[in-house]
Structures are given as C-alpha cells and as structure tokens.
C-alpha cells in the first residue's frame, strides 16, 4: 500500500503564527525504500512523505523496522540500501554522509544516545550548529556569547540543570536525562525534519510530559516536520499527530489520523491482518 497522504496539516500546525511559518516547505520523500543489514531484509518498500509543519507517528510491533527506517534515513553505515530513494527537497540523500544529511536539515533523536567523554555538551552543540550554518552558506558563525544564552534557555525549557551544558555529552546522564538532552539538541540545531526514535521509552510520566512539551514548543517555533517512532499511545496524548502509520515487516500497512493510534491502543496489533508474529 502506498501512502502519500497530502491533506493539509492540522492541529498544532494551525497554532504556528503566520510570520513564523516557514516560507519554504521542506519535503522528505521516501519512495519504495528497501534496506538490509547483512543479508537480512529489514525494510521492504517504504513510501512516506513528510513535510514541514506535519507530525507523523509510526507505530508497530518490535522488529517491524521502525528504528531501521530512521537509521537508514540518517545514513548509518551498518545498513545497506538495496532499492528505492529518499529525497530531501528533491535532492537524493541516500548517497550522502550522515553529516551532510544533518547539514541539509535532517535530525535523528537516538533511542540510545551515545556517551562522549570529555566533549562538553555546550561546545559540541555550538560546533555542530556552526557546521550546519557553514554548510548552508552562512559566513557568520555563532559566538559563545550568542549561543550560550539560547542553549541555557532551551535547557531550562526541558527542566534540566544548566550544568549539563558543561558536562560531557550524555556521560553519566540518566536514561531520562539523555532523552531530554536529545530534545535540547534538536531545539538548538533547528533541523527541518526531525526523526525521534522511541523518544518516550524509559521516561516516567513527568519526564514524558516535559519531553513532549519540548517537542511541541520546537514544532511551534520552527514549524519543522516530525517523525515520531513510538510503541505507546501515551506520547500521542501530548503530541497530536497529523498522521499515524502502522508498520510491520518493513512496510507501512495502514495509515490514518490519530484515531488509528487509539484503536491500536485498544485492540493491539492483532486487529491488523497483515501483522503476524514472526
């Protein structure tokens, strides 16, 4: 089933005031994407289009290929693309290095963020932001004086202590702190399309709320397109998706609006005939 639903964005998108709405709509268009890890086929023909100001949620049982989709789109070297295309604003990205994709405006919030000893969060994010700007042809770089207040504000928004800025990236962070830090990164790097891989896993109810608010806030401010990978409806109580997709065996088998998520919550995946337990 090919899903390229292009009805106007609803919900949160309406809350974006007109002057903040991006003048240019960014589009990530995935077409018949097949990917393997070794000889194992994981993605079997994904079709999906994500635009600015849209929130997509992908749900599906374990092993259906949700995380793989994110990693393949970001350029993880472990996966081999065997067929299909992914175009960002018309430009094929599957041949690009991960940093080139990031510089185009793609972001991946990791399910398990990595720890980088000795590299401070603040310096790292400023470096990354400046590299993004440089790649976009900006000649001016952001100085620490400009960057740090913005970072502090964002860290505050995620209810994190300012000292996280000077701590090493994710080192010694709790699971919840790591997830919040991913949203901090997304907020300051200002991507055009963000993929958030199980950003809700391992969060208690308060942290879940904070993370969700952080996502919604960034969405409202920048009008980015969001792809949420999640197992649970509860995240969607805070972030109302425009589209919900159900994925199984490396394919999207059904798409709908937020009601689909509620149905899933109620009946589980058994309801979907194409989903069987592998």
């Amino acid at each position: 089933m090919n899903i390229t639903m292009n009805k106007p964005a609803t919900n949160q998108a309406k809350k974006i005031s007109s002057h903040e709405r991006p003048t240019k709509v960014d589009v990530l268009e995935i077409c018949d994407l097949h990917a393997n890890i070794g000889k194992l086929k994981i993605l079997n023909g994904i079709n999906l289009t994500i635009r600015s100001c849209e929130i997509h949620a992908i749900m599906g049982p374990n092993g259906s290929g949700k995380s793989t989709l994110c990693n393949v789109l970001m350029g993880h070297p472990k996966y081999e693309v065997v067929k299909g295309s992914a175009k960002f604003n018309g430009k094929e990205i599957l041949e690009l290095d991960p940093n080139e994709r990031a510089n185009l405006g793609l972001f991946l919030g990791f399910q398990h963020p990595l720890e980088i000893a000795g590299v401070s969060m603040g310096n790292f994010l400023r470096l990354a932001r400046n590299l993004n700007l440089k790649a976009a042809g900006e000649t001016k770089q952001i100085s620490p004086m400009e960057f740090m207040p913005m970072l502090k504000e964002t860290v505050g928004l995620l209810k994190m202590d300012e000292k996280f800025i000077s701590r090493s990236v994710n080192e010694g962070f709790s699971g919840g702190e790591k997830k919040r830090a991913e949203i901090v990164q997304m907020a300051v790097l200002k991507p055009k399309i963000a993929m958030l891989d199980e950003i809700d896993s391992g969060l208690d109810i308060d942290a879940l709320k904070i993370v969700a608010e952080g996502i919604v806030e960034t969405f409202k401010k920048t009008g980015l397109g969001v792809l949420l990978i999640t197992h649970y409806q509860r995240l969607l109580n805070y972030i109302t998706p425009d589209f919900v997709h159900v994925m199984a065996k490396g394919k999207i088998i059904q798409s709908g609006d937020k009601k689909l998520a509620l149905e899933l919550e109620k009946h589980g995946y058994e309801k979907f005939p194409k989903v069987d337990n592998r």
């Binding site: 350029g75 990791f110 980088i116 990354a128 790649a135 790097l189």
Partner: protein, 824 residues
Amino acid sequence: MSVPVSTQKIIKNTLGEYKFGFKTRNKAVFKTAQGGLTAAMVKAISNRKKEPKWMLDYRLKALEIFEKKPMPAWGGDLSGIDFKKIHYYLQPQDRPKNNWEDVPKDIKDTFEKLGIPEAERKFLAGTGAQFESEVIYHSLQKELTKKGVVFESTDIALQKYPEIFRQYFGKVIPAHDNKFAALNSAVWSGGSFIYVPKGVHIELPLQAYFRINAENMGQFERTLIIADEGSSVHYVEGCLPAGELVSNGHKFTNIEAVKTSDLIVTDDGKHHKVKALMTRPYKGTMLKIIPVSRENSFRLTTEHPVLCIQRKINWLPEVSTKKLMATKPEYIPAGKLKKGDFIVYTTPTKTEDNEIFTEDLLKILGLYLAEGSISFNKSLKLNALAFSFGKKESEKNMAEDLILTIKKLGHKASITKSKGLYYTVISYSKNLIDLCLTHCDKGAHHKKLSQTIMELPVEKQKILLKNYLKGDGSVYIRKDYPSKMIRAGTASKTLAFQLQEIIARMGIYANISLPEASQDVIGNRIITRQDQYIVEYTENKKFNEVRRKDNNYFVPIKEIKSENYNGFVFNLEVKETNSYLVKGFAVHNCTAPTYSTNSLHSAVVEIIVKKGARVQYTTIQNWSHNVYNLVTKRAFAYRDAEMFWLDCNLGSKLTMKYPAIFLMEPGARGEVQSLAFANKNQHQDAGAKIIHNAPNTTSKIVAKSISKGSGRSSYRGLLKVTKGARNIKSHVSCDALLLDGASRSDTYPTMKIEESEVAIAHEATVSKIGEEQLFYLMSRGLTEEEAASAIVNGFAKPIIKQLPMEYALELNRLLELEMTGSVG
C-alpha cells in the same frame, strides 16, 4: 612593567635550530666523530667541558657498564639503533650562556620561531602588559637568585656548584641502572640543574626545550632537580618543531601554525583552502634560495618544486623584459635552480574597499605606524595614544597638522612639548585607540596591519604608506636621473613584509634587508638600530633586474646555499592549485618520498623531593618519527613530600619511558599521569613505576594511550610495596583508545606486594572508537574526521587540562595534526 607570573618563562637549553626554511645557521663548534663510542671520545667530551676528574672517572666507568650491559630484550624493538652512527656530542656555541644578551642571535631567532613570544602575545592581547622576552628573562632570573634558587644548565652547575652537584648527581639513577642510563652517564651534555632552597615556592613553571638537530645526533641531556624541605617547583620540558613563513594574504604565518581549511594565498594570488598540513622527518641537503631582497630568502628540500623561469643559455645577464615575458614560469625542483634564474613573487589580488578608511583616518594610522605608541596612563586610568615628533619646525607643523586631522574626525587631542623639546601629540579617544590597536597593533616589534587594510584598494594603501614614510622613511633623489629611492625602517618583521606587499601592489618590488645593529640618521634624528628591517624601493628606476607581470614579479636568484639538515620539514596540500607562497614566492607542494634515519634521545632525569616539598615535572614531546626516545626518569620522595610526573608522548619511532617514584618515608605521595599517541610505525611503550618503601604512603597512576593507523601503545607499570610498608593506598587506571582495527594496545601491569595491609585498586579499559559514536556525532553535522578528533580530544582532556595553557593549546593542535591523517 609587571608580567603575569603564569606567563613568565625561562628559555634555556637549546641545541640550535631544526626547521625548514630558516636563516639561522647551526654553528657547531665541536662535534664528536661518527664511528662508535670510545673512551677517547668520552675523554674529549669531558676535557672540552673542563670537567673535574671525578666526573671524567664517572663517565669512563659508565662507559664500561654501557659496553657490558646487553640491549634490553623486553619492551620495544631496538634493533634500528646503530651506536656507531651516532654523534655523541655537539656543542652549538662556545660556552653555555647565562645572560639573554649573551645568547647568540641564532638561538634567539630559534625561540622566536618556536612561537614562544607569539603564544605570549596571544595570551596578553587585551591586557596592558607588553611581552619582552629579555625583560622576563631578567626579572625571573633576578627573582630566582634573590630566593637562592639555582636554575642553570647542568654543565654550568657542575662548574659553579661542585659540592652540591657531586652530593646528588647519579644518586637516584646510578650508571648501572640500565644500559641507556649508563650511556647517558658516559656522554651526557646539557639539561637543567635546579636547586630550590628550604621553604621556597616557585609559582611559575620553569621551562626548557630540547631538540635534536644535527645528522644522526644523539641527545643525552641530564637533569637534576633538588627540592629542599618544604619547597615547591614545577618544571616543564617540551619539544616543539616549527617551520617557514607562508602567506595568508594579509600576513605571513609560520607554516606549522597553518590549519586544515585555513585560507592561504597560492600562485594565482587568490585565497585557497588548505587541505592538509604534512610534516615528515628529513635528512639531507637543505637549499637556501636567496633572491634579490635577502630577507625573502627561504629554505627548502632539493625535491621541492619552485615556480621559476630558468635562464636560457643565450640570455644576456640583463635579459630583455620582452624575452622574459614570453617565457612561461614552470615548477622546477629546487635542486635544479641556478643563480640568475627568476623565481616568482606573487601579491594577493583580493581587494575590498571599506568606507571607514577615509583619507584622514589613513593619515593618522600611517603616522601611528611610524611614530605612535599606546600606553596606560596610571593617574588618569586611561589608555593614551601618543605620537612623538622631532624638535624641528617641520616636525612641529606635522604635529599640528595631525591634531587638526584628529579633531576633524571628531576626537580630542593635545600637543605637548617635552623636556627634550620634542613635540608629542596625545589623544585619549577610546574610539581612535581601538582603531589603532585593531588595524596596526602596538609595540615597535609587533606593529602590523590588519587584513582589512591589506585588502584595501591600492590608492588607499598609498595614502597610508605616504604618511608612514613621513615618520619612518627617508628619501634620496638622484640628480642625474629623476629616480627616487625610498627607505623605511621598522623593528616589526611582519610589518616589513606587509609593506613589501603593499609596495608590490603599487607596482614596485621592494627590497628587505636586516643590517647589523647600527646608528643611522633618519629625518635628522640619530636612531640606534636594533634589528631594524629596512624596506627599500626606487621609483622611476632606470633599470630594474626584477620584472613585473600583473601581480607577479620575476625576481632573480642572487645566491643558492646548501646545508645539511636533519629534522622535520613541513608541507601543505592546498585545494585546486596545490601551491603556496613561501616568503611571497610560489612553490608547489612537495611530492618527495618520506625519508628517514634514526636518532637517539636518551636522557636521564633525577629528582629529589625532600620533606614536605613538592615537585611537578611536565613533559610534552613530539619527536621526529625517526627518534628512539629512551629516557630514564626517577624521583625520590621523602616524608610528606609529593612528586607528580605529567608525561605526554607524541611522535618518535619508539618511546620507552616509565617515570618512577620511590616513596621513601611515611606520608609521601606520588602521582604519574601520562598520555601517549602511537601513529603509524610508532610504538609508545610508556607507563609508570611506584615503589612504596615506607608505611602510610599513597600513589596514583593514570595512563591513557591512543593508537591509530597500526600504531602500537603499551602500558608497562610496576607497583611495589616493600615489607613493612603498611597502610598503603594506591590507585591505578589505564585507558586505551584504539582508532581502528589495525592498531594495537597492550597492558603489562606488574604488582609486587609484600605487605598485607594495603588498599590497591586497578582499573583498565580498552575501547575502540565505535561506529555508533562516530555516527552519533556525524548525525549532528561533524565530518568523520571531526568526530574522531572530538572523541580523541575528549579522551585526552583529563590530562590536557592539567597542562599550562600554552602547552594545552599546543597539545590540542598536535593531536589535531595527528588526526588529520597526514602525518607519518
């Protein structure tokens, strides 16, 4: 003048120069012959140094031990050392110098090129102090002497303090300790001797640089540090190579300071990005190309291609311009160049107007360059900008004209007449002072023009030059032919080359020379010249041996000298054109193969830390990749004393170094922290030894190693607790980081614990930079190289952050260099 204590430094102990492209000459006065070490040679060294008999006996005995001891079979591969091919002694100057004035200019230049004042300048930027190495040297030496501290070269200390020297020398590391300690004991030369009296604390680090510079040279320095009861000292030794000046467009930069992705000017006069900076060890002939304008001389290897028009057989000495213009310059290996060939001086073409530079402002800046100074007025607590003029009427007119100009720009200024009847114009306008600082810097030796000025349209630069020459210039007009010779003198090397560039943009190739210190008359004033660069050019010259074509000047070679060289050479890879400008002249990046010969560095460092004293010994080494670095370092720490070794090892072919601490009495504390980077064809076998010889002693070892490109690093450690040494605490941690699958890391920890009441913790980790970590950083926009570099720097950070700032910067830069994949 007060200089922040942390930035003061003593510069001691060097053995000449070892860089690509310098005008310093290595005047070795005495050098032992090749062909292996003999008793006669040891006697010759000792006689040469006029040593007492006991030292000669000690050396001869050590030689016997050296000959008897077998090569160590453990650790690294030592088979590449040929003891017959090593020079055991080289004396770079007649006698070790004690006063800065006595230090020969060659050596001073070496320090200059080591970038030391440069680092200081950067550090001091924005503060009121001005860095003058002489002053610091004096004030520091005075301060040390006042406190009774002895800080001498080890050779001098033997002559001046024979009793104390004999009492401690060879006591911590006797000659029979190991083969290389024996070798050092037989042929040692140089190194530092430090004695810190009871209760004296030296807050600033004492520093020394050691380098190997001659062919197959052995470097056998001997350092002895005695910290008497309750005293403290921090000693830093470093080995930092440096290189030739290349053009950034607006100024020349030391080649080794160029970073990947910096913009430099190439043979087309345009800015291009640097792809990589490469260094390699080089042994062989080094050519010095001396063109018209001697100070533009540069040195390079014979294979290095230079843009050139070779003189044809049928050309007259004064070849016609027409013939020359019809010939296209080509890249020719430096070894094939001949006297009279034309090399190509290129001026950058980038031009960008900036409206703030009005004729009036340029006039002020021009005069500032020549006559201006900025100082802090203590009573007013304000910076003051002062222009000094002579006492003649014409000078008075100039001063009054300047005041009018300043006022026209809306600033205040006043004129004073000092005791000597010189006219001085003073302004406190912050805005004006900032403009002068930003665009011209300050201090006679450091004045330089900003990039903005260097890129202004040539008409504007002419205005600046005209006004500059009013102050620092003089004009000679020939009567028979209406040509005008113009000379200017400046103490700033950077400014001299910038003026040459501006004049070249005006259409004339100027000559830069550096006459010996002398007296000169300029503008009716007698000026004593200390290292004044003279920039000289002639307008309307009848015949000029230098010819111009657009932004290129074809400059004849006056002389080519060749000399033997052994050390690092530097090379740049530049995007698109792969050329760069050395002292203004176009050269191609060198494609010569890596060449290597083996040298030996075998130092001995003995340290005695008495009751309640503290010694920190910091090392940053980046030896050439053909050096065997086999060093014995050991300290004795007595009651409640503290010894700290901080050891960073980059470069070298093989390093075997295990700083040791013997904790001799209760309460003593020892700590060794080390960082090793093993790149391709390198083996870093480093570690630490701690011997708990007394109860209630504590120790800590932190060893970090990085291996890349099949490099190998090993941690070799010994922790020993002797019988009776109860209540011991010790913590050992070794972390290894492998950057790829081909690299290797081993850990050889040895523990000999003869007592039961001990608390010992040992941790070891080996991690490989993972795909996942790289992917994570890359997903945020870092390239793979940047990501790996960030991980390496993060890994090394706990060590780096303990270094003095300028060393921390240097080490970061060195790590970056190792990570660019171009070294080795």
